[in-house]
């Protein structure tokens, strides 16, 4: 008995148990439920347990699905490229140009200030700013930059991507900054001594050492953008669709099985994307 209690295996299992239970109940079970329901049938009033491939058949044969998935990827890729560019630059500045650690911490915290309000509020506040009679257009008009208000500022793909970048850049900044702070400064000096230009230092020393941070940030941004529906709805004025909106429309019309099928396909797509990214960098080794 005493031997069993002292066994390392048992302690390990017991330590892991709470997390396993929580994840099983709140993650694995609901996902399984979604998979099961995706094979059910729906009438106008009820959902009927069945094994029916109809939901998937409709999903894979409708040209809308293709358009909408393409749109989702497009938003994700553009947002990813922009947040990566901005995130890397901001982190670079914080890590290598700010000498005092206090200032560094203060500025990093400043990046998180927008998170003190909900992301919906942060998003909606763009609407009066970008509108036809909004602050941006009024400013441009009075500066004489334009003759007529720019309509594409709001309710357009531009607005959607602007909001995505605004909402998600901080998820890029923090992990990259974290990686950069760990870089041994003597490596940079050594590179300089060996005759590397600043650009070469960035590409040959800093970027390879930042890979895990870049990868973690990318996973955050891609999964958040691909799973979003509310940003697309508000910033495009309901005129563009991504997969999330397809799912939310189905739920609104009580078509749970069809919503589940779309969710399963989206989940698999996102998992594939993340798996692909993890193959590029072994995050665990690098950390």
């Amino acid at each position: 008995m005493q031997r069993i209690l002292n066994s390392r295996h048992l302690t390990g299992w017991l330590l892991a148990a709470p997390l396993v239970v929580v994840l099983a109940i709140f993650l694995v079970l609901p996902v399984l439920m979604i998979v099961v329901v995706s094979f059910w049938q729906a009438t106008e009033f009820s959902i009927v347990p069945a094994f029916d491939l109809g939901n998937y058949e409709f999903l894979f044969t409708s040209h809308v699905t293709l358009d909408v998935f393409w749109n989702t990827f497009r938003y994700a890729l553009i947002t990813w490229a922009l947040t990566l560019g901005i995130g890397f630059t901001v982190s670079w500045f914080l890590a290598f140009h700010i000498r005092s650690q206090t200032t560094q911490v203060a500025l990093a915290l400043l990046c998180t200030v927008p998170f003190w309000t909900s992301n919906i509020i942060r998003m909606i506040s763009w609407v009066p700013f970008l509108g036809r009679n909004g602050l941006a257009n009024q400013a441009f008009l009075s500066m004489g930059l334009i003759d007529a208000p720019l309509d594409w500022l709001l309710f357009s793909d531009f607005a959607v991507i602007l909001a995505f970048v605004h909402l998600n850049t901080v998820f890029m900044i923090i992990p990259i900054l974290n990686s950069m702070m760990r870089i041994d400064r003597s490596l940079l000096e050594a590179a300089r001594d060996a005759g590397a230009s600043p650009f070469q230092i960035m590409t040959n020393v800093v970027i390879p050492l930042c890979k895990p941070g870049i990868m973690i940030g990318s996973i955050f941004v891609l999964t958040l953008v691909m799973g979003d529906f509310i940003t697309v709805r508000f910033m495009s004025g309901s005129q563009s669709a991504n997969v999330g909106r397809l799912i939310s429309n189905d739920i609104g019309l009580l078509q749970y099985p069809s919503a589940s099928a779309t969710s399963v396909v989206l989940l698999l797509t996102v998992l594939l994307v993340v798996a692909g990214m993890l193959r590029l960098v072994d995050i665990r080794k690098e950390l």
Binding site: E44, S46, V64, N133, F155, G237, S238, S240, L253
Partner: protein, 421 residues
């Protein structure tokens, strides 16, 4: 969960007591018991005002609990969970969908005191003897059945009503007259290239498709057999015209919630769009000109009423009849008419409105003084007249009623494609 402490069994007992009481008249028992009745009303929220529940408690003594849901959720609740509500506050097209499930019971019109005064729209479909009945799910076509537990709709009044009508209105396009600067007379203007990037339509498929049909018909592009029950071919053609307009950048945005429609209009992002009556009032209350523009093709109209759950019996059923009779007796009618809706028994509401209010809302006369909302805010300044004019002018020009189509699922799919296009 049921909040009342009356279980089904005790209600049945109460019902038995009520029957006994009516056989051996002893009304006092009944009057004391009814105070403990709780009626649960599930509805679409148009008429779910706390003021109404408070007034029920005051006038009738029992408790009314209201739940407001969107129309899809109400439809599902009424159709699948008959034990979860006592009174269904639904639109007539929802009635068409859910009545066949047998979860509602018909009402005996001989127990409805003001039945004879209900406007013709809900009885034989005619406001005046020479009225033409509009397309779509006209309320009178689903308003009657042949028995308390009847499953089919009756073609003419039978003495058993499926819903008791309570609230209705005529919807049209809202415009910003100050930004348009010329008269607007037709639904076709929604797709006029002049308003490119400044138009909007609501993204609620069942209503949006009707507005779209009004526009296509006004443009002369499509001739519908019945806009309220389109064929798949008509749906395809309608959506093709709107998809083309969307791709050409006609629409600034679509809206799904009341607030969105108000903001789009008030900010000037949109100058012409589908709109609901209270949203117009909300824009105007900001001091911005906004007209609920009457159009020559007529209105898209909707109507709602109260239905009784099939599970209601005994004391609770008596209370429900009491409630419905009270609903038609005028106070609620006056309350709703002051929001811009119409009451099913206008003449009883008159007693609960000032002469000026009655003249403004019902008769289409110029307001003598400021017109206030039931909450006391100024809705219209003295001298204003109601857009579209008098009751008979507005309700007399209904082109189509909100409806549910046989091809509903096909339509929803096509609508989603339009949004994603």
């Amino acid at each position: 969960m049921k909040k009342n402490h009356y279980s089904r069994r005790s209600l049945l007992k109460g019902g038995a007591a009520a029957v006994a009481a009516s056989a051996f008249p002893a009304p006092m028992i009944w009057a004391q018991d009814i105070k403990d009745v709780v009626l649960r009303q599930a509805g679409t929220g148009v008429s779910a005002y706390n003021e109404v529940a408070a007034k029920v408690k005051e006038d009738l003594g029992f408790t009314l609990e209201m739940t407001a849901l969107d129309s899809d959720a109400v439809t599902q609740k009424v159709a699948t969970q008959p034990d979860s509500y006592d009174i269904a506050d639904i639109e007539y097209w929802i009635c068409k969908k859910v009545w066949p499930t047998g979860n509602l019971q018909a009402m005996d019109t001989s127990k409805i005191a003001n039945y004879d005064k209900i406007v013709g729209i809900f009885i034989d479909g005619k406001l005046a003897p020479d009225s033409v009945i509009a397309q779509g799910t006209a309320p009178h076509t689903v308003g009657f059945t042949d028995a308390v537990d009847g499953k089919a709709f009756a073609a003419s009044p039978t003495g058993f009503m499926t819903l008791i009508p309570t609230i209705y209105n005529a919807d049209t396009l809202g415009i910003r007259p100050d930004l348009i600067g010329r008269p607007i007379e037709s639904w076709a203007e929604l797709l006029n290239p002049e308003f490119k990037g400044k138009a909007s339509i609501l993204d609620i498929s069942s209503i949006g498709i009707m507005d779209a049909a009004m526009v296509c018909e006004a443009m002369g592009e499509i001739k519908y057999g019945d806009k309220g029950n389109m064929t798949t071919d008509e749906i395809d053609k309608t959506m093709a015209i709107f998809t083309e307009a969307k791709k050409a950048g006609q629409f600034r945005s679509f809206w799904k919630s009341f607030d969105e429609s108000v903001n789009l209009m008030a900010s000037g992002e949109v100058v012409i769009q589908s709109m609901w009556s209270p949203a117009i009032a909300a824009v105007r209350s900001k001091g911005i000109a906004c007209t609920y523009q009457p159009l020559k093709e007529g209105y898209r109209s909707w109507g709602g009423g109260l239905g009784l759950s099939a599970g209601l019996s005994g004391l609770a059923l008596d209370a429900a009849y009491e409630y419905i009779n009270w609903y038609l007796s005028g106070w609620v009618g006056g309350f709703l008419m002051r929001q811009g809706y119409y009451s099913a028994v206008p003449e009883t509401s008159k007693a609960f409105m000032s002469e000026d209010e009655w003249g403004f809302w019902y008769e289409g006369k110029a307001a003598a003084g400021d017109i206030l909302s039931p909450q006391g805010t100024v809705m219209e300044k003295a001298g204003a007249t109601r857009d579209g004019g008098a009751f008979v002018d507005r309700m007399g020009k209904v082109a189509c009623w909100n409806s549910v189509m046989d091809e509903n699922q096909y339509m929803v799919r096509k609508w989603n494609e339009f949004i994603a296009a």
